[in-house]
């Protein structure tokens, strides 16, 4: 389903984030006339149009891309490993998450660190990746009152998603740990370590390993 986004865009609704990434791949490889850019969402792709051009041609090109996109050779996913110090001062909500989920803290950590999850899209702030889906047992609601400041590197969960705050930001997700690695640097190319489609694996580390992991990951 293609819906208008004002006169300057089209929102293409798709089944899931993978569908959005596939269409995005096709449109970026060979941008149709009148298309200025794209923004992937959870189950949609926003296509920004040249406001001086009539959208019919772009819409036809998008429909053709959807038809061919089913077979698009999306590059094989990269694997990104994120070291995390779980609990304690770095994961102030771990105990609450365990209580809400009816698990022990160690079980929460084991579930979070053993599930292979994928980057669905980025948003909210530069470098913030929405990563999912978490197993049912780990799904908890957001905080009733968001924090005004969540430290950079905080690893948090809400509903089916997990994410990492790239900078100190306000936030309503429950923080279960913290990573020492950098996730966003406007001076790097690409500026974000995580990209849509990436497979993400969280690995528990001890506080004593914090300094050894600080800074940009080696495979950025």
């Amino acid at each position: 389903m293609i819906r208008p986004f004002g006169e300057r865009g089209l929102l293409v609704e798709l089944d899931d984030a993978e569908g959005a990434q596939r269409l995005d791949t096709v449109l970026r490889r060979d941008p149709p006339r009148g298309v200025l850019g794209t923004v992937p969402g959870l189950a949609s792709l926003l296509v920004e149009l040249d406001p001086a051009a009539h959208p019919a041609a772009a819409e036809a090109a998008i429909n053709a891309a959807i038809a061919s996109g089913a077979e698009a050779d999306v590059p094989a996913p990269r694997t990104r490993v994120i070291p995390v110090v779980y609990g304690g001062e770095h994961g102030p909500d771990l105990a609450d998450v365990a209580a809400l989920a009816g698990l022990t803290e160690d079980e929460v950590i084991a579930l979070h660190a053993s599930t292979v999850v994928r980057v669905r899209f980025l948003g909210f702030a530069p470098g913030f990746a929405y990563i999912g889906d978490l197993p049912e047992a780990l799904r908890v609601p957001r905080l009733a009152t968001p924090r005004t400041r969540t430290p950079a590197g905080s690893v948090a969960i809400a509903d089916a998603m997990t994410g990492i705050y790239p900078a100190a930001l306000p936030g309503g997700w429950r923080v279960i740990g913290r990573t020492p690695v950098d996730l966003f640097d406007a001076r790097r190319d690409p500026p974000a370590y995580l990209a849509p489609g990436d497979e993400v694996r969280f690995v528990a580390i001890g506080v004593d390993a914090w300094d050894g992991h600080r800074g940009p990951p080696a495979d950025w």
Partner: protein
């Protein structure tokens, strides 16, 4: 060099290039909140439209040049040079040492362009300041008193004058992805008021409630999108809005009227009126061709015949 004597409540380096390709990395589009006024200001001093300039919020801001250059101020603030009013939409030579002041006028934001442009390094395709994350522009931050900004080489810059007019209100909207007749009716039937908190992310409206707001799976956003959260208080998004959002978007402000949204001040009344997509495209093309009608005033930026009286 351009010296910031007093930045007022908030002044920052911006442009209109946009960080289009960086949006997939979660980076906002960014840039001048009122891109039309910014583009015009650059044209009035002979710059390319995408040159970096200064966005001033609410005045009172003061600047001094260390070498003569052509300057122009556009948008909702009024300017004076050593106390003498600068005619609106007019480029003018500013002598070294003369003080340029931007004070309150009919809107929230003013744009100061200098021939040659503000010379800062582009980051992710734009010289705009991302104030929230802290990169781009001048050291990734708002301007402070005492900052000295390098000016680019101007070449043979000509001052210009523009006799055009911006679109009148009400603000025009057209269908968004979650267009819904009841929601659109509520948006257009209410006389809204701009809520106290206004920033480069967006303008929140108060004074009514649009029923049928709520959450949707996170979707891409563009400046101009109107998000309606569950509380029914619409938010008109601006240049620094997040790249994705999880609230319903029943409508979008048309591109031609985004400048009008950026000029809204807290407490201003806001009326929204629905137009068709082809009217929206027509309005865009009319402003584009109007901007091309900047008249040259000569290399010295001397008074045009119509402005001699305003200068004395």
């Amino acid at each position: 060099m351009l010296e910031v004597v007093d930045p007022g409540p908030l002044a920052s380096v911006q442009d209109v290039l946009g960080r289009r390709d960086a949006r997939r990395h979660g980076v906002p589009f960014g840039g001048a909140a009122d891109p039309w006024s910014a583009r015009l200001a650059n044209r009035l001093v002979g710059n390319p439209e995408g040159a970096a300039l200064i966005e001033v919020v609410a005045g009172d801001a003061r600047f001094v040049l260390e070498a003569d250059a052509i300057v122009a101020v556009t948008g909702g603030l009024v300017a004076t040079i050593d106390g003498v009013p600068l005619p609106p939409s007019t480029g003018r030579r500013l002598a070294a040492g003369a003080q340029l002041r931007l004070g309150s006028g009919v809107g929230l934001r003013g744009y100061l362009a200098v021939s040659g442009g503000i010379d800062v390094e582009p980051v992710l395709g734009s010289r705009a300041t991302d104030l929230r994350t802290g990169f781009g522009g001048h050291d990734g931050r708002a301007l402070r008193a005492g900052d000295r900004l390098r000016i680019g080489a101007a070449g043979a810059a000509n001052a210009g004058r523009w006799l055009g007019a911006w679109p009148a209100r009400p603000i025009r909207i057209t269908n968004g992805p979650q267009a819904d007749p009841d929601l659109l009716r509520a948006l257009t039937a209410t006389t809204w008021t701009v809520a106290p908190a206004v920033d480069r992310t967006g303008v929140r409206l108060a004074g009514g409630s649009a029923p049928g707001g709520g959450e949707v799976p996170s979707q891409g956003l563009l400046p101009g999108a109107i998000q309606v959260p569950p509380d029914g208080a619409p938010i008109l998004m601006l240049a620094d809005c997040p790249v994705t959002g999880g609230y319903r978007v029943p409508a979008c402000v048309i591109g031609a009227d985004i400048g009008s949204v950026a000029q809204l001040r807290p407490g201003d009344p806001v009326e929204l009126v629905e137009v068709r997509d082809d009217e929206a495209r027509g309005a865009w093309l009319r402003i584009e061709s109007s901007l091309a009608e900047v008249e040259p005033l000569g290399a010295a930026g001397d008074d045009g015949p119509g402005w001699a009286g305003a200068h004395h």
